[in-house]
């Protein structure tokens, strides 16, 4: 579906009268269904703020965000929680797994909170564990498994309810290169097989090269956009690095 998510003139200001920081400054773009969109930018460019606005965790100062026909900037807090529950999945840099629950239970909880029945929970959970290759560690606690496995668990938890949009904030930030690669391949796989729409914030060019489109953010504004189209990943990475070098980028993670 085209224009699945529409971000229209969104602004987010912090501070008071004497000192205003424009974290996001009149940003507009759209995301199509099944797209894997990346947002890149230096620290302080407003990418995480943008993600927080999209994820309803923060409110806009001005502008609108439409998911299909729903304008989430107009929804009251109670409805926002429902919206979040029904439409969004999250993957964070620090995994955000519950340390008292096992890997499997972390995934299960996301489903039981939505009131899904015993059989549905079991089936879906089994499928996700298999898809993400963490069946072996299902009974382990987060502290017992590697960072990559933790992040895949977080990913499974985010996808198990088939959200409209998967939001990922620096998902590879705490992973080694091998684990990062596995996770990004998983994202691509999920994007292809489950038609998951993914919105990923990263400052790592390597991670970004897995996306189908990249928005470059600077001082709260989109200053460039790259579309992968049919290009292979290596060439796309080259293009990204070119953009970064043009901006005197601080990104030096090209591999």
């Amino acid at each position: 579906m085209k224009d699945y998510i529409r971000i229209c003139d969104v602004e987010k200001y912090y501070g008071n009268d004497s000192h205003v920081t424009k974290a996001v400054d009149r940003v507009s773009f759209t995301v199509d269904q099944g797209e894997f969109v990346g947002v890149m930018g230096a620290s302080g460019s407003g990418k995480t703020t943008l993600l927080n606005l999209l994820s309803t965790m923060d409110s806009v100062t001005a502008g609108h965000i439409y998911y299909g026909g729903t304008d989430i900037t107009e929804l009251p807090e109670e409805k926002l929680a429902d919206f979040r529950k029904d439409n969004l999945g999250f993957v964070f840099q620090d995994y955000n797994l519950l340390d008292t629950l096992t890997i499997e239970e972390n995934i299960m909880l996301a489903m039981t909170l939505r009131g899904k029945g015993r059989n549905a929970v079991r089936e879906e959970c089994e499928k996700m564990l298999g898809l993400l290759g963490i069946t072996d560690v299902r009974d382990q606690f987060p502290y017992q498994v590697s960072g990559g496995q933790k992040q895949r668990c977080a990913c499974a938890r985010a996808l198990v309810n088939h959200p409209q949009l998967l939001l990922a904030d620096e998902p590879t930030g705490a992973l080694d290169s091998r684990a990062s690669q596995t996770l990004l391949e998983t994202f691509t796989e999920m994007n292809r097989t489950l038609f998951a729409t993914i919105f990923m914030v990263t400052h790592d060019a390597f991670s970004a090269s897995y996306c189908s489109r990249i928005l470059f953010l600077k001082d709260g504004r989109i200053f460039h956009e790259l579309v992968r189209k049919e290009k292979d990943r290596r060439r796309f990475l080259g293009q990204i690095l070119d953009v970064l070098s043009l901006t005197g980028g601080e990104f030096s993670d090209a591999r």
Binding site: E78, A81, L88, F90, L97, L98, T100, E105, A110, T112
Partner: protein, 693 residues
């Protein structure tokens, strides 16, 4: 600079440790108020009996100090662990260990001194309440007066400081041993959840429950009571208190692993896991808290029992204003009457005799049938063990040498004095006036008796159970009332005088009467300085709680004295109960509040995966409630079993007309009242911490 840093740290942690601070304040106040009772000179002048209350409060203070020392030690260690990262940073910045240790000590001292001073202020208020309650018990006027006795303040301060210094010394040893790495990671030590042998350990849970069942059955129905079994059960109980939590945690873990149905409902999975992991890491502390709660429950239950006894039984125990015993068969009580006339306005004074006919069949029946004696005076075939009975008769033991008889005219006169309706008896009949408590035990047993009159057997015309001074004066436990013609043919056993006074008896009447007693070997003074009943053929009945076996009974003098003695037990029990309860609740509360940072992250995650804010607040409530309720409920079950058992015995022994559930019920109400205050404070603080951005 260090002082400033310490002050800022105290200010910052004040929110988390407010409950601790308030508890320390409250405990200091209690300590100060109760210590006043030990040192108050006015009180010592007022009561001339042995200073039982001072001794018992002193003993209670020992327990209280021990538990406070534990609390301070626990809190100091706990805060150290929570702030270890901060101390590690100080070390990294180049501070010396000694400096940090001093800094930490200064902070704790500031907190301690603050709580102590607030406690003293509150203590003065509590002192007034405590003293006015005590004075009203002694039927004395209390004028508000602040007792700031130096010794009292010093003793309170010494107890308090002793606890602190001990805890801090231990802590500085810890500091010396720690290195930067350990300090930096000490806060994370609890986060690893180690599960091993859960399948085996889970059996501890049903086994603990089973043990409690067996323990209850043994208490109520067990016959074999010897030192060995009692020790076995006590050791078992302590083990169960501690192992229960290990079992409970494993039981929940196994349930979650087995994916029981409840796991699939809403946030249950999260709650069960949270709870089991918290119980696992805190199992020893939880056990200790349960023990404290149990002691608090039992202490308060016992206090309420004595209080109830005081309110219900004491008035009935001494129905006459003055009652005097004499072993002389023709005593005219001239000296006593003269004294009474001098000291008070006598409304009526009535001299009468108690008779005996040389038999003791009612006494023997009592010895062989009352529950309190069990098998002691009974052979295996049900026949009485006469040698034991003879040994136990008279001399202030349960029953006298002979059964006690009273003539109908005397009986009716006494009834009239007490405001009861008179009774009538036909020739050939008798009546049993018996303690209500005994009658509940025996029922109608007249068919098993054969009371012989001068013209053959007498028939029982019925029972009367009003209070009638049956503790050695008008007989022991019972008196047989017979027509006057029957007593004419009997021998006088001993003489009695009952008097009604106008208004209250003077305070020293009892003392003056005791002064009349000639101190010979037979007429001894008991420990409270009262002349004992001299004639060794009488008994004092089977009451167990308060037996006032004195030659002279002056009700208005005795009741305050007995009340004071009972208060000597009630006050320390309440003291211990309250302190233990507050200490345990503080530990629960502070643990949860300081964990709220960790929980904040977890609740944040829950919100991110789609939980509404309101639901999260609900989950916080449920989690806190489970954690708070678990040790309290477990302690309530243990102490409930023991309390019910004690209540049954107490009701049997004293004859109070109270449901056996009442004492424990009132204790529960008090307990959960205080519990609710702590819970609410923790909940509000916790939600605030979690919601704080």
């Amino acid at each position: 600079m260090l002082g400033k840093l310490a002050f800022r740290n105290v200010k910052r942690s004040a929110k988390d440790y407010l409950v601790y601070f308030l508890t320390m304040t409250f405990v200091t106040a209690l300590m100060f108020a109760f210590n006043t009772v030990i040192f108050s000179k006015d009180l010592q002048k007022l009561v001339n009996v042995v200073n039982l209350m001072q001794i018992l409060i002193g003993m209670a203070t020992v327990f209280v100090v021990a538990i406070i020392a534990w609390l301070i030690n626990y809190m100091v260690r706990f805060m150290l662990q929570k702030r270890s990262r901060e101390f590690g940073t100080y070390l990294l910045l180049g501070m010396r260990k000694k400096t940090i240790s001093h800094l930490y000590m200064r902070e704790n001292m500031a907190l301690g001194i603050g709580a102590f001073l607030c406690g003293l202020a509150l203590g003065i208020l509590l002192q007034q309440i405590l003293l006015s309650v005590l004075y009203s018990m002694l039927q004395e006027q209390y004028r508000l007066k602040v007792y700031l006795d130096g010794r009292c303040v010093v003793m309170t301060a010494a107890c308090y400081a002793g606890c602190y210094i001990l805890a801090l010394l231990r802590c500085s040893r810890r500091f010396r041993k720690m290195n930067i790495r350990e300090l930096m990671y000490a806060g994370q030590q609890n986060e690893e959840i180690r599960e091993s042998h859960e399948e085996r350990k889970k059996w501890l849970f049903p086994m603990s429950v089973l043990f409690l069942g067996v323990f209850g059955l043994w208490l109520f129905f067990g016959k074999e009571w010897n030192g060995g079994t009692v020790i076995c059960y006590l050791v078992g109980l302590v083990l169960v208190i501690y192992l229960f939590y290990m079992g409970l945690s494993s039981f929940i873990v196994c349930y979650v692993r087995r994916k029981g149905n409840a796991v699939y409902r809403g946030e249950n999975l999260f709650l069960l896991r949270q709870f089991s992991s918290k119980v696992r890491t805190m199992q020893f502390t939880m056990g200790t808290l349960t023990a404290l709660f149990t002691i608090a429950f039992l202490g308060c239950t016992a206090a309420f029992m004595f209080n109830d006894y005081q309110n219900q039984i004491l008035e009935g125990k001494f129905p006459f204003d003055v009652q005097i015993f004499s072993g002389e068969k023709d005593e005219d009580f001239a000296r006593e009457l003269e004294l009474l006339e001098q000291q008070a306005a006598v409304d009526e004074a009535f001299t009468y005799r108690i008779y005996q006919n040389g038999t003791n069949q009612v006494n023997v029946w009592m010895y062989t049938h009352l529950q309190v004696f069990g098998e002691r005076f009974r052979n295996a075939d049900g026949t009485p063990k006469m040698e034991n009975i003879e040994e136990s008769s008279g001399g202030g033991n349960w029953y006298g040498k002979y059964d006690t008889y009273m003539s109908l005219s005397v009986y009716n006169h006494l009834r009239e004095m007490l405001g009861y309706t008179p009774v009538s008896l036909k020739e050939g009949e008798y009546l049993l006036h018996i303690k209500e408590r005994i009658y509940r035990d025996t029922g109608d047993f007249s068919k098993e008796l054969s009371i012989q009159g001068k013209d053959g057997e007498l028939h029982c015309a019925g029972y009367r159970t009003e209070s009638f001074s049956l503790d050695g004066h008008n007989g022991a436990d019972y008196v047989l009332v017979v027509p006057d013609s029957e007593t004419d043919a009997m021998e006088v056993f001993y003489s009695e005088l009952a008097a009604d006074l106008e208004g209250e008896a003077p305070e020293d009447l009892g003392e003056r009467l005791d002064g009349l007693a000639e101190l010979s070997e037979e007429e001894m003074l008991d420990m409270a300085g009262h002349a004992e009943i001299s004639h060794h053929s009488t008994g004092s009945g089977t009451d167990t709680m308060v037996v006032y076996y004195a030659k002279y009974l002056v009700r208005d003098n005795i009741i305050p004295e007995v009340k004071y003695m009972l208060s000597s037990i009630i006050f320390p029990l309440v003291y211990i109960g309250l302190v233990f309860l507050c200490v345990a609740l503080t530990v629960l509360s502070v643990q949860q509040l300081s964990d709220s940072a960790k929980y904040k992250f977890r609740y944040g995650v829950l919100q991110k995966i789609g939980m509404k804010k309101r639901t999260v607040t609900g989950v916080v409530g449920k989690q806190l409630f489970m954690y708070f309720l678990c040790p309290a409920l477990f302690a309530a079950v243990i102490s409930g079993i023991i309390s019910l058992y004690i209540s049954v015995k107490f009701v049997d022994a004293t004859g109070v007309r109270t449901s056996i559930f009442q004492y424990f019920g009132i204790t529960c109400a008090l307990f959960f009242g205080i519990y609710a205050v702590y819970f609410a404070a923790t909940y509000i603080g916790f939600v605030r911490n979690v919601e704080e951005s």
